[in-house]
Subunit: 514 residues, 2 copies
């Protein structure tokens, strides 16, 4: 074990992961490798890629014990493909698989049994919630899970740390030669952005579709040049499962107050200007912030160059009303967004690498003016936890949180001072997901706190008359209301490695012993 | 030297190229390598990619003696970027550059002086015509030129045989962070397909543009994640130079007769059917063949799934009339095609790798039913020469000729029996560009000849009452009219290596000594 640059004790060696580098600051670790180089393949003109069943694909590749199989999460809680593929592996008595899926949802509960049976012995993901997350937190997996950021996963694939043997792409539309998109078919999910690095760098690529189209399918988010097999199944997923929580502006008065304050912070920072760019999540508070920013833009007569993030009908509406000139979209959170990306040329699909990979010639988060992000905890150093909950169990993960925070000129954490009966502002967060150096302002219903690294911002906030407070004051106020939270009991055993976007270890999650 | 599978004497070792494999049949050489792996890069959020001048780009990279600089040929004879970049190298006293450009045109004449001065000592291209081709043929370059196919160049880049130090992308539209397309701006050229492998695998990528757009530019044919520098110059090229010869159906009665016969061959082969796919070039005779095929499709009430190739207004018209469902476009040959690819979602940009790279999970030529190609010579084994002219000088090259011939189910060579006063059908072609095993039928104004490998086709042609003749009869008839051509005098010195699409050596071009 060793201590990293933000004082977290992290391992120097992890089983199934190899040498671990400690986190050393958001932009201190530079790439020193070549791009991943899979074996070159060939197809003769008469060859067919259509295969009758997943079993047959497993035999042709062949899938073997110990391989890494990858998946994308565009269907979120409606995904049918991961369970289908792992069940096939179990039927064929394959063991010791490493599952690399960009996010894990409650629908993936069958993974727990496959872990217990030894079919699956490794997990690599950017976010997890539900039964798998609970079971992992309680130690069901002998090796630690690798938790990455959305940009970090694209980096790990492109830079060869996450070597994928077989990528299974849930493809809402496919032709018989492997051109794929997410905008057509009964299970259209919109952007296929998270699957694009997998298709580019996996040794074998399998498209699993329920909607086979005439060749050549267009648009093609993933090209025939990277797809080896196409399997038609009955149903790849339930598009209703892609909807993520609220996609409407909150009506909660506290949430609205925080959102209005957040918008005021953006204005005070001088960012309500022609060509503004921002990222927002899909929650009601984040959308409310976008709503107030939209109102300010209308008043100022300015247009945003682009908005990024998981896309909802609210963002689509801003695009259609001319408040946004472009949407760059790595994932869609509702069916209006799915429709828009298929129909509006200014609603652009981007890959996970384009979105947020820190190790390429420049990703989109680098061009963000501002981002509004949530937190389950934030500490005096502005470190943010969105990985573990108040009970110590894993209930999330970075996703794009750390990526957008690192890229944007102004990163806001928008959070109620209390979540339930617990303070959001704490001495030390249980798990650091996003380092404080990439967080600029905490916005709560009881005032805002500016990261001391941003003296420039502090002056602007004070000049604008915003309710600026020291973050420790906010912590004390929260504790006065809710008391000091008890320490969560964990064992020494590490159940998850929290990898920063650059591939260094920013923290670990330890097994809960309640 | 050694003899390859079609009896051509080729070198086993070539300076600046390394070990050479002899051609061994169109699908006999399998890939045995990993994909090219350039060094991983990083950009911090505040970094700018805008650079004031090419000189400054040269200094930042830095460009050094002996490097390989790459270019694309979408501007054809209107390209301004190659000359600009090489002149910069000359001003900075850089020597010994290897120039990898997908095709060389008369506009590139200044290269000859740069070769004489030692600024350029290597050339790697798929096609060349004009002063550079003449000078090369007469021995101006001490190392042999590497002549590839369009698909072979994509393969050589992706598989690491053509390692590019710096790719210079002439970008009709660019934003400040390196998103590029060819469909906007004063010098719009349409598809950027040939530049896509360069951008993906070069160690450094420079966009040279005369039209800087707001971020994020969309559509983006090349992504910001691969572009390191953006340089704004006054003019990148003359879009009038992209027009390639005739883009209208021929009016020559002999040409029309050949075209009608070619269409009859396609029908006799059973390919005038729903979902047909074909590739055609831009010449008047090729377009006339497409014209007659279109008429047959209308009569039969069928629609083509797609057409491929260098795209002209004639193909665009077929798309707009509903005869084609899609166009897959690697290059545009006139401004109507440039407009269409920017406006019609069924007119699809594809990369050179998607078009024709034989070493990936499947390229588009594999899905072609038929292709109509030209020839300057064809021999008794159906080997075709489109590389050297009647005087032995280089005046072309494969481009996509060998690729489409290998991929299509039915490859037609459409040619007058005589070109000028010389027979087109000869004993042995001077240079083999495309191997006879991938050529099915020769169509001339005096009859057709079917490759003996295709007994199935021969029966169909006879059954359809087509004027089938032995290829040797056609040769004798041509010789009766024009006499037996004299042998072209060449020295032993090899001035160009003709590489087949799979990376093997199919032939060489020797220095002309007239």
């Amino acid at each position: 074990m060793m201590e990293n640059a933000i004082g977290r004790t992290v391992p120097s060696q992890v089983e199934g992961y190899g040498q671990a580098k400690p986190f050393n600051g958001a932009f201190q670790t530079l790439p020193d490798m070549l791009r991943q180089a899979p074996a070159v393949k060939m197809r003769k003109p008469a060859d067919s890629k259509l295969v009758d069943s997943l079993e047959e694909v497993f035999r042709r590749i062949p899938v073997k014990d110990g391989m890494t199989l990858s998946f994308h999460h565009h269907f979120r809680n409606g995904d049918g493909v991961l369970n289908m593929v792992v069940a096939t592996a179990a039927r064929l008595s394959i063991k010791d698989l490493n599952i690399a899926i960009s996010s894990v949802f409650p629908v993936h509960a069958p993974l727990v049994e496959h872990i217990k049976n030894g079919v699956v012995t490794g997990l690599d993901t950017n976010y997890m919630s539900g039964p798998v997350a609970d079971a992992i937190s309680r130690g069901v997996l002998s090796r630690p899970v690798i938790m990455r950021t959305h940009g970090g996963r694209a980096r790990a694939i492109e830079c060869g740390q996450l070597k994928i043997d077989v990528a299974f792409i849930a493809a809402p539309a496919a032709d018989d030669y492997g051109n794929l998109n997410g905008v057509m078919g009964p299970a259209a999910c919109g952007s296929l952005g998270y699957a694009i690095p997998d298709a580019e760098y996996a040794e074998h690529v399998v498209a699993v579709t329920d909607y086979l189209c005439e060749y050549p399918l267009s648009p093609a988010s993933i090209s025939q040049t990277r797809v080896d097999y196409v399997v038609k199944v009955d149903v790849i997923g339930d598009p209703k499962g892609i909807v993520s929580g609220s996609t409407k502006v909150t009506k909660d008065p506290v949430g609205l107050k925080i959102a209005q304050t957040a918008a005021n912070v953006v204005r005070a920072a001088g960012l309500i200007k022609e060509g503004l760019s921002f990222q927002t999540g899909a929650g009601g508070a984040a959308l409310a912030t976008a709503h107030f920013i939209g109102k300010m833009m209308e008043q100022a007569g300015v247009t945003a160059s682009f908005a990024m993030g998981g896309i909802t009908s609210y963002m689509v509406d801003m695009l259609n009303r001319g408040l946004l000139r472009k949407i760059t979209d790595v994932q869609d959170f509702d069916l209006e967004a799915v429709h828009s990306i298929g129909a509006n040329p200014n609603h652009i699909e981007v890959s996970a690498g384009e979105y947020a990979n820190p190790f390429n010639s420049g990703c989109i988060v680098n061009k963000l003016d501002t981002v509004f992000l949530g937190a389950t905890e934030i500490d005096a150093d502005f470190n943010v936890n969105v990985t573990t909950g108040s009970n110590g169990l894993i209930m999330g993960g970075s996703g794009g949180h750390s990526d957008a925070a690192a890229g944007a000129k102004l990163t806001l954490i928008v959070a109620n001072l209390l979540r339930g009966r617990l303070p959001t502002v704490v001495d030390k967060v249980l798990t650091v997901t996003t380092p404080g150096e990439t967080v600029d302002v905490l916005v709560t219903e009881r005032g805002i706190a500016v990261n001391p690294r941003r003296k420039d911002l502090l002056e602007k906030m004070i000049a604008a008359g915003l309710p600026v407070r020291n973050i420790l004051d906010l912590k004390q106020e929260a504790e006065k209301i809710a008391g000091i939270p008890g320490k969560i009991k964990t064992s020494d055993r590490v159940v998850a490695i929290v990898e920063y976007r650059d591939g260094t270890i920013i923290d670990v999650v330890r097994q809960v012993t309640d």
